[in-house]
Symmetry: none
Subunit: 197 residues, 4 copies
Amino acid sequence: MGQRGRKKGASGEQSRGVLLSIATEEFALRGYHETKVSSIVEKAGVTQPTFYLYFENKDALFQELVQLFRTRLSEYTEKSRLEPGIAKTAIRQKIAEGLMPFFQFFIEEPHLASIGFLIAPQAAEIKDQLADQIRANLISEQQAGYFRKDLNMGVVADSIVGMMERFIATQKKRSFKEPELLADEVVRLFLYGIAEP
Amino acid sequence: MGQRGRKKGASGEQSRGVLLSIATEEFALRGYHETKVSSIVEKAGVTQPTFYLYFENKDALFQELVQLFRTRLSEYTEKSRLEPGIAKTAIRQKIAEGLMPFFQFFIEEPHLASIGFLIAPQAAEIKDQLADQIRANLISEQQAGYFRKDLNMGVVADSIVGMMERFIATQKKRSFKEPELLADEVVRLFLYGIAEP
Amino acid sequence: MGQRGRKKGASGEQSRGVLLSIATEEFALRGYHETKVSSIVEKAGVTQPTFYLYFENKDALFQELVQLFRTRLSEYTEKSRLEPGIAKTAIRQKIAEGLMPFFQFFIEEPHLASIGFLIAPQAAEIKDQLADQIRANLISEQQAGYFRKDLNMGVVADSIVGMMERFIATQKKRSFKEPELLADEVVRLFLYGIAEP
Amino acid sequence: MGQRGRKKGASGEQSRGVLLSIATEEFALRGYHETKVSSIVEKAGVTQPTFYLYFENKDALFQELVQLFRTRLSEYTEKSRLEPGIAKTAIRQKIAEGLMPFFQFFIEEPHLASIGFLIAPQAAEIKDQLADQIRANLISEQQAGYFRKDLNMGVVADSIVGMMERFIATQKKRSFKEPELLADEVVRLFLYGIAEP
DNA sequence: CATGAATGAGGGTTCATTCAT
DNA sequence: AATGAATGAACCCTCATTCAT
């Protein structure tokens, strides 16, 4: 009752969801070409035609995941920018707070992150974009007097994005602590450098 | 005369070289699957069977390139380790000198670097290894008193490798200066951080 | 209705069956290498990928046929061993009855027999095995006093298997009679020899 | 001197001979398709073009071997027919003497025999022909009163040829004695049969 | 909503054979 | 007499995708 009626309609969305989630994992773990439509549907327990009931084709599904990654990334990026000038928190904590959402996202959605940062053909472009944003932020903070003026913020941004990529790529084998600790570690590194003061 | 002698024996190696170099570019620019044997040989001006005269198969060729990358990377890594302890040169310059070979390599062989750092399935492993080495170096220098003791050198190493990866990935669009300048920039970043002193 | 039901489920098995039967004939008539997947599917009225829907590859199909031959051969060999010791039937008829199943098999499945006895790389091994069995049988009957003791039963078994092979190989052009008659002919030959008594 | 002059001309025939002999072995052991021109020349220590200096193509070489087999077989068959009526030797020995040359040939040239009897596409035809000859001989001797009249000599001939084929095919693993002994064994089998007299 | 069955299109690889030297 | 280098012609196989039910 109701249940049954819904079941019909829901089962569709359900199948779609299963396919989507399996595909995410497969793409992340094996890459685009090594992930066959046939194996996705097999693991999902449906047949190949069913796949095309929910996705135009393999590439469309993949792009959907990439798009999903970009959306989520933006959402989390928003959080990074929340506290504009108000923040009386020390610069160190402020930056750590800005980094946290990324780490959280990468930890919560490792497969999606892998797709967007490592697997997708647009990965380069995605990272470029992110680096650009970060650079813009850094520059404005640099001009606000928080950072040294003699550093090329493009290089800094690239290093940060590169670090993120490494974080995503090595997440499985990383025994590493809580995102908070990691964020703080990273912030201290980028803020003060490794040199003995 | 020497001309003639060389011509004969060389023609084979020459074809191989052409194929190798075209393949390097193709793999770097399009990825493994998008690079067809048919298009490699076409650009090389030979027919498909010729390809198999010089390489066991497509994958063997690719692996040869990956191996070549690893070898070159090792060679350059050697250079990074030259001067042992004595070094009265400022730590800053010392590190810059250690970084330089990598940048030089990446600049001289951008396609090979791209293959080893971005395209190869083993890319993750390769970068992990490199990060491990760098971390080991950093730790020993840390213990020698050059670096702060409160930093996790694993994170530092990952950040450096990530930065390298970004450097390779963005090289084409990078208007950036000489490797010397870049190396110095990077060293200053990692040594002293971005915080206003 | 049963019609419809069968049609659906059966169509796949049907295609497989058609391919199997065409392949049997082609392999038997042309040999392994001269039989192309392309020609099998063409005669079956399907496209090449369909072939791989039912068989892992060309060789797997071939091996399946060889295995089928072996199985059938075993089944028929069983029949040869029926009546154990008591047998008051004349030795001559007893042996004829033991031979009959083979001839019947070879006549009913000439192509399969051809594959197992002539085409398969394992043909030698298959015949060796059969010869071994026959020899064992002959020896036990020899020791039971039915046959002369001064004959090497290995040679006899080889001769019988060789005769079978010739029978299979020449079946097409053989105008020869019923299997019963042939069996009797063969038995008389091997039992009593050709010498004028 | 002389030696040197001959060497040149001889070296050609020599290469040809080497190729021929290696090809014989390879064809016999691996079959036609599994024997690659490339592997023949490799084992012969020459290059592929050299192969075509001496043979029109792979098939021509193979046919040459088949032809050689047929020729040799005929030569040996001649020996079988030498003593026409004269022979006062007992029928048993006479037949053994007729069989001997075949066994000798098969033993002396096992690879060639394998090619002609097992590998060649014409193997069936070759054996048919041989069976025909043997049948003709048998029939004439049958009519001369040496053999029972109630036996189909076609079947007898096929059995003999089949036995020969088995002999060739199993020669490697056969521990068996001298050709004389084998011939005698076979003759006794076919003459008197296996039944307890 | 779902499937059994089938296919279009293309890719990698092999092999006998030849050309120029 | 011989070779280094190259190729024409096929063949096997895979995969994303669709049709009819």
